[in-house]
């Protein structure tokens, strides 16, 4: 059942699966974002892909809010028919950033999760090949994109 | 009388000769010098004047100078022609505004460059390849007749099979070089060479047999003489086309330069050669191209036959041979600018599915044409 407008999609999500998600917001036309709970994020992702038609994975990345002590992992997804873009967000505590990997649902997230792992240190359980993607294999300089990264040459 | 005593006797005799006769002979030699030198010169002059023809053959026409000069000019022409196809100028400053010295500069630089032998490569085989590669086509070219009696190596009436035998040796070298260089690209390149030559060699041999059949003799000179009434390209048009395609395949020119495909295998089986080794392999590629083109001209385009321009028949024949060579080289370089490279399986399919049956058909037609037999 394809919802016509963004508001209906958000209302439906809140009504159907309140226990899976914290919040669902409409940013602007054709752009919705959903903040999911860390433990139940796999089920919500499967529902989004199968029932709501968000089958095209666009990208994934993380943001490090050092002041609030949390990291937010964002999955950008696209519905090819209605051209809606959905940002599935998951909040992770900074001290143990662990998260189930999305590669079983959207296979193309493989590269993006590897990059988030090497840049932020988020550990994705169940990822087939969690190795360095962009940094050299023998990189020991910590996680570059974290706010408290003291690599050489960086003057925040 | 065992061996040791024999040796001792020999040494004693030597010592006696040194003490007694040696000074006498030296003095006689010095006294006879004033008469000896003019004699020597005369002998040398007679030697050159008497066998002027073989010397000219060895050095000039089908020999060394012609081969090296062709390699130089072909490389220069190809780079300029390709540059023109790319709407640019090509080598320009190297030889006073025309770049004709460019190839000499390249080869001289390669000559003085350090060549690197990979440490766990088979040194003997690795160094043997650049030596063998140019010699085999050069050896084959000596059989080509530039005139009815202007053949360097007279194979006694069997020059066509001898040429094919020698030219058939050429693919063996890339195969063992690829393995010897101990590099993954060269191994794949050498396998591809093996596939390519097998599929390309057999149609050529069958077409050559067809022309020999039509001419009635296995000697290249007789084949050319038999083409006096009409060139063999017209009665054997299928063979003509097959041989042309086979020529490009044997010389590894662009539609079929699968073994040294720059874009997949870095340089194919030539990846590990550097410096003077690479210089020889590059020259060898042009020599095999020259060899097969000359055979193609002799078999199908009437060798040295052509209307006489200068008085002396020898000069006419050589002129016509070089003119036809130039035309074929231009066409093949033109093909290189127009067509992309084929995949290995497409080339093999062409070789086995199309060239092979067509060449057999051509052989059948020649038999019918020659003897009119209805089998």
């Amino acid at each position: 059942m394809q919802a016509r407008s963004e508001e209906e999609l958000v209302e439906e999500l809140k009504r159907e699966h309140p226990e899976l998600l914290h919040d669902a917001i409409v940013h602007r036309s054709k752009r919705v974002s959903v903040i999911a709970k860390r433990e139940r994020v796999l089920e919500l992702a499967r529902i989004l892909r199968d029932q709501y038609g968000f089958t095209q994975p666009v990208s994934a990345g993380a943001v490090d809010y050092i002041k609030e002590g949390r990291m937010q992992m964002i999955y950008y997804l696209m519905n090819p028919e209605t051209r809606f873009m959905l940002m599935l967000r998951v909040d992770l505590p900074r001290d143990d950033p662990r998260m189930p990997s999305m590669t079983e649902i959207w296979e193309a997230m493989n590269f993006h999760e590897r990059e988030a792992w090497e840049m932020f240190g988020i550990n994705f359980e169940g990822h087939p090949n969690l190795t360095h993607l962009l940094l050299p294999p023998d990189w020991r300089g910590g996680y570059p994109l974290r706010k408290d990264f003291r690599g050489e040459g960086i003057t925040p | 009388m065992d061996v040791v005593t024999l040796i001792w006797l020999y040494i004693l005799g030597l010592v006696r000769w040194l003490l007694h006769e040696a000074p006498l002979q030296v003095i006689n030699f010095i006294r006879s010098l004033p008469t000896l030198i003019p004699e020597l010169l005369k002998w040398l002059w007679d030697f050159i004047w008497f066998n002027f023809k073989p010397l000219a053959q060895i050095i000039v026409i089908p020999g060394l100078a012609f081969i090296l000069l062709f390699a130089m000019i072909a490389v220069w022409f190809e780079r300029k022609f390709l540059a023109r196809a790319m709407l640019r100028i090509g080598p320009y400053y190297c030889g006073k505004r025309s770049g004709w010295l460019q190839v000499i500069a390249d080869f001289l630089k390669l000559f003085f460059k350090e060549f690197v032998i990979p440490d766990d490569a088979e040194k003997v085989l690795f160094l043997a390849a650049p030596v063998l590669l140019p010699t085999i086509p050069a050896l084959a070219i000596t059989l080509i007749p530039f005139d009815s009696n202007w053949v360097l190596f007279d194979a006694g009436g069997l020059s066509l099979p001898v040429f094919l035998a020698i030219a058939g040796l050429a693919p063996v070298i890339p195969i063992f070089t690829g393995w010897a260089a101990n590099n993954k690209y060269t191994i794949i390149g050498s396998f591809r060479t093996a596939y390519l030559y097998i599929s390309g060699e057999i149609p050529l041999v069958i077409c050559a047999a067809a022309t020999a059949l039509l001419a009635g003799s296995l000697d290249l000179v007789d084949i050319v003489e038999a083409q006096k009434p009409i060139w063999f390209a017209i009665p054997q048009f299928i063979g003509f086309l097959i041989f042309f395609v086979g020529l490009i395949l044997e010389a590894e020119r662009t539609p079929f330069d699968v073994p040294t495909a720059e874009t997949e295998l870095v340089m194919g089986w030539r990846t590990e050669f550097s410096g003077v080794l690479f210089g020889f392999t590059m020259m060898a590629e042009y020599l095999s191209f020259l060899g097969w083109t000359l055979l193609f001209i002799v078999l199908y385009l009437g060798g040295y036959l052509g209307p006489s321009l200068f008085g002396v028949p020898l000069y006419d024949h050589i002129f016509w041979m070089l003119l036809k060579l130039a035309v074929i080289v231009v066409i093949i370089v033109l093909i290189r600018t127009v067509y992309p490279r084929l995949r290995l399986d497409q080339t093999l399919r062409l070789g086995w599915n199309y060239l092979m049956p067509l060449s057999l058909l051509n052989l059948l037609m020649t038999i019918i044409l020659k003897w009119g037999l209805i089998i």
Binding site: L133 | L87, T263, P340
Partner: protein
């Protein structure tokens, strides 16, 4: 990157960064004879840490590093960043500036597609003819860029609030002349490439990507449209002046290298039409709104701008914390998505060693965009 184990009968070849056809990346292929069993794209050789650098640059300074992500198509990348900054800081852009932006983006797209043609042709060994023709035609566009912005490649012409300078007079009929010249030239390309039987033999039926796989694996740009999915950000979320320009989204059904090539061809024709429309109907008016040199952002604002670059859909997501510099800039690069599709193609259909460069450059990867 830890090396996965190798099966005995398979030979692992590494097309290192130094390989005529590998560009700036390393491709590990498991080869069994001539058939490629598995492709592993070892990217990251040109990772310059642009996302970390942008956190250390003010909003306007950030244009310089992000433009160097895709040098052939700087216009679209810079537009993505500048639009995100305008959305984050709430800056208005005058109408004429939008039209100029669309004009330059289309010229950049043609420039980048020429690059794609050149490499896809070169990797079939068709080196002399078409590959160097593309440099000749690119000079025409580079002269136009140079006349307008002063630089050939990274011209930093888009700034938050509009465009740095107005079109010099006489520029519009130069655009018309260039469009007419390029139309003639692309007829030559069509004859030299699409009508060439050997070139078609090398490209047809190679690297087939079906419609479902294209969506499932997250392909984008000409790769996606080559498989029959008509997704184009210029139509879905019109930005700059694309709302009131009429052009078609090109799709092909087969999804093989030849289809992707034809998609790029027709896209260039559409871009030429757009350039002509802009040259005829560009409105007058100011070119830039007044923006302070160091604009300060409101805390906690997010802005995601999506732009259709020549290689696919680029997303720039800016998070601000009220300072002079962006808190975090997330770049969704199109080539990273296409490289994953390239890795999976080995399992989707039978790939030979000679086909690999053809497939790789039908996807038109730009490794600097992939590694950021």
């Amino acid at each position: 990157m830890t090396e996965p184990e190798i099966k005995p009968e398979v030979m692992r070849i590494s097309w290192g960064p130094q390989h005529p056809m590998s560009g700036q990346t390393r491709i590990l292929i498991d080869v069994d004879g001539e058939v490629v069993r598995r492709i592993i794209a070892d990217i990251g050789f040109t990772h310059r840490g642009i996302e970390k650098i942008l956190e250390n640059r003010t909003f306007i300074q950030g244009i310089v590093p992000i433009e160097r992500m895709v040098m052939a198509d700087t216009a679209n990348i810079a537009l993505g960043y500048v639009q995100a900054v305008e959305e984050a800081l709430g800056i208005e852009v005058p109408e004429r500036a939008k039209w100029i932006r669309s004009l330059i983006c289309e010229m950049g797209r043609i420039n980048s597609h020429l690059y794609a043609f050149g490499l896809q042709v070169e990797c079939t060994g068709y080196f002399p003819a078409v590959f160097l023709w593309t440099t000749v035609d690119r000079e025409v566009l580079l002269d136009l860029f140079e006349k307008l912005t002063g630089a050939r490649w990274s011209y930093s012409f888009f700034i938050p609030g509009g465009v740095r300078a107005d079109l010099p007079e006489g520029f519009r009929d130069e655009v018309r002349r260039a469009v007419e010249y390029l139309r003639r030239r692309f007829q030559d390309y069509w004859d030299a490439m699409v009508e060439n039987p050997l070139f078609e033999m090398r490209n047809r039926g190679v690297g087939v990507l079906s419609r479902e796989d294209a969506i499932r694996l997250g392909a984008t740009g000409p790769v996606l449209r080559g498989s029959g999915v008509d997704m184009d950000v210029r139509k879905d979320e019109p930005y700059a002046a694309y709302g009131d320009l009429d052009f078609k989204v090109i799709t092909e059904r087969e999804g093989d290298c030849f289809a992707r090539l034809k998609v790029r061809f027709h896209e260039i024709e559409q871009s030429l039409n757009i350039m002509e429309q802009i040259a005829d109907e560009i409105p007058g008016g100011p070119v830039r709104t007044k923006v302070p040199l160091f604009p300060r952002s409101k805390p906690g604002v997010e802005a995601l701008s999506r732009v259709e670059t020549a290689r696919g859909e680029l997303g720039v997501h800016i998070f601000t914390d009220g300072g002079l510099k962006p808190y975090r800039v997330k770049i969704n690069s199109p080539t990273l998505r296409n490289m994953y599709v390239f890795e999976r193609l080995a399992e989707l259909n039978r790939v030979l060693v000679a086909d690999l460069p053809v497939i790789l450059y039908s996807i038109d990867p730009w490794y600097l965009d992939c590694d950021r």
